[in-house]
């Protein structure tokens, strides 16, 4: 039961609004504005209060748009198995999450999927056992 609960918690925290930052996630992101982006990482900011990575994504017209994607703080990520180069410039990744309420190219990265299938989440490795 505990294992199921932990999986549920991890999944919810990974796919819903970013939680437990230094501000209300619900005030910044709209859980109804789902994003599903694939592109190439251009920059990583391993900074507080949140880590960010930027990604070039082609829109429907073929134009390249640079997205700014937010993660938890490095402090949370480090304790949950991330390294500062877990996502790095040049990586091709797919990201699901929620877009900022102002509809800019800014979002919270819920789950990040790499070409080899491994996944990371807003808070850490999706499966901390890996």
């Amino acid at each position: 039961m505990r294992r199921l609960l932990l999986i549920a918690c991890a999944a919810a925290l990974a796919s819903g609004l970013p939680a437990l930052a230094h501000h209300s996630g619900a005030a910044e992101f709209d859980s109804n504005k789902k994003i599903n982006l694939t592109g190439v990482v251009t920059k990583v900011e391993w900074t507080n209060p949140h880590a960010h990575f930027y990604m070039d994504v082609k829109d429907a017209s073929g134009n390249v748009v640079n997205w700014n994607l937010e993660l938890a703080s490095p402090n949370v990520l480090i304790r949950n198995g991330w390294h500062r180069n877990s996502v790095k410039p040049g990586d091709t990744v797919s990201v699901t999450g929620a877009q900022a309420k102002d509809s800019s190219n800014y979002g919270s990265a819920g789950v990040i999927i790499f070409p080899d299938g491994h996944k990371l989440s807003f808070l850490g490795a999706e499966d901390p056992a890996k």
Partner: protein, 258 residues
């Protein structure tokens, strides 16, 4: 009604409060997964018999989402605001929250980041990882100055009552919020924190909040901290890259929107 996500967070948070575990066990503590857990056992003491509260802890003395949530209050207690305070809570905006502006949380607001308590014969220190990366000084067996300058953490003096560390603080400024909802206070705020290490891995924290400038009567919050024996504090400089502020919209509310 608490949205589902908020409820889930609460369940996740509660599930993270572990019972004493055998040595070598790992589990979740707050947001942190697969952490080393404290083994079971009694609360330790220093060589002179003083309870030993030192260590890295996670958790605080009150709900940082909403200090008036009955689940975070001593049984039978209520938060009764004066009319001006009720009015200000109705109008506060998320982007005005000092926490979102990388300013100190004050007392009793907690955070998702661990903190360390350090005991010396004359001073106890609370070192906060976040938010913000700061510290408190507790002057043991001392007196408050007659007219302390108002500050974010106030002036704290401590003494022991049996196994409980009692920390009395006055001299606060009126700038911090008690929680994400924006519960206010005035410079008349007086807090009494009671820290009791109930076993090796857990700390009970009660905070009595007395502010006749903002509340009709004092109230006492209850919280718990969990020892994180496998971690050290990390740097957390919130001011470095706070991109969120311009994007925050709407009324002050909890992390999950509640």
């Amino acid at each position: 009604m608490m949205p589902r996500f908020g409820l889930l967070l609460l369940v996740c948070s509660l599930s993270a409060q572990q019972a004493p575990q055998p040595a070598g066990k790992t589990g979740n503590i707050g947001l942190y997964r697969n952490q080393k857990l404290a083994p079971g056992g009694p609360a330790p003491k220093l060589a002179d018999g003083t309870p030993d509260l030192s260590g890295v802890w996670l958790g605080g003395g009150a709900s940082d989402a909403d200090v008036s949530n009955p689940k975070g209050l001593k049984a039978g207690e209520q938060v009764v605001m004066l009319p001006w305070a009720e009015e200000i809570v109705k109008h506060r905006q998320s982007k005005e929250d000092p926490e979102a502006n990388c300013l100190p949380a004050g007392i009793p607001r907690g955070s998702p980041y661990p903190w360390r308590l350090v005991q010396t014969p004359t001073h106890y220190f609370i070192l906060y990882e976040g938010n913000i990366h700061s510290y408190r000084q507790i002057f043991m067996n001392a007196k408050h100055p007659d007219d302390p300058d108002p500050t974010w953490y106030g002036h704290s003096v401590g003494h022991w009552e049996g196994n409980t560390l009692v920390v009395d603080t006055v001299g606060f400024n009126d700038k911090f919020w008690f929680d994400y909802k924006g519960h206010p206070h005035t410079e008349k705020l007086h807090t009494i924190e009671r820290y009791t290490r109930t076993d090796l891995g857990h700390l009970s924290i009660e905070v009595t909040i007395d502010d006749p400038g903002a509340y009709a009567k004092p109230f006492t919050t209850v919280g718990k901290a969990t020892l994180m024996p496998g971690t050290e504090l990390l740097e957390y400089i919130c001011q470095e890259n706070n991109q969120d502020l311009p994007l925050l919209t709407g009324p002050a509310r909890g992390p999950g929107g509640q």
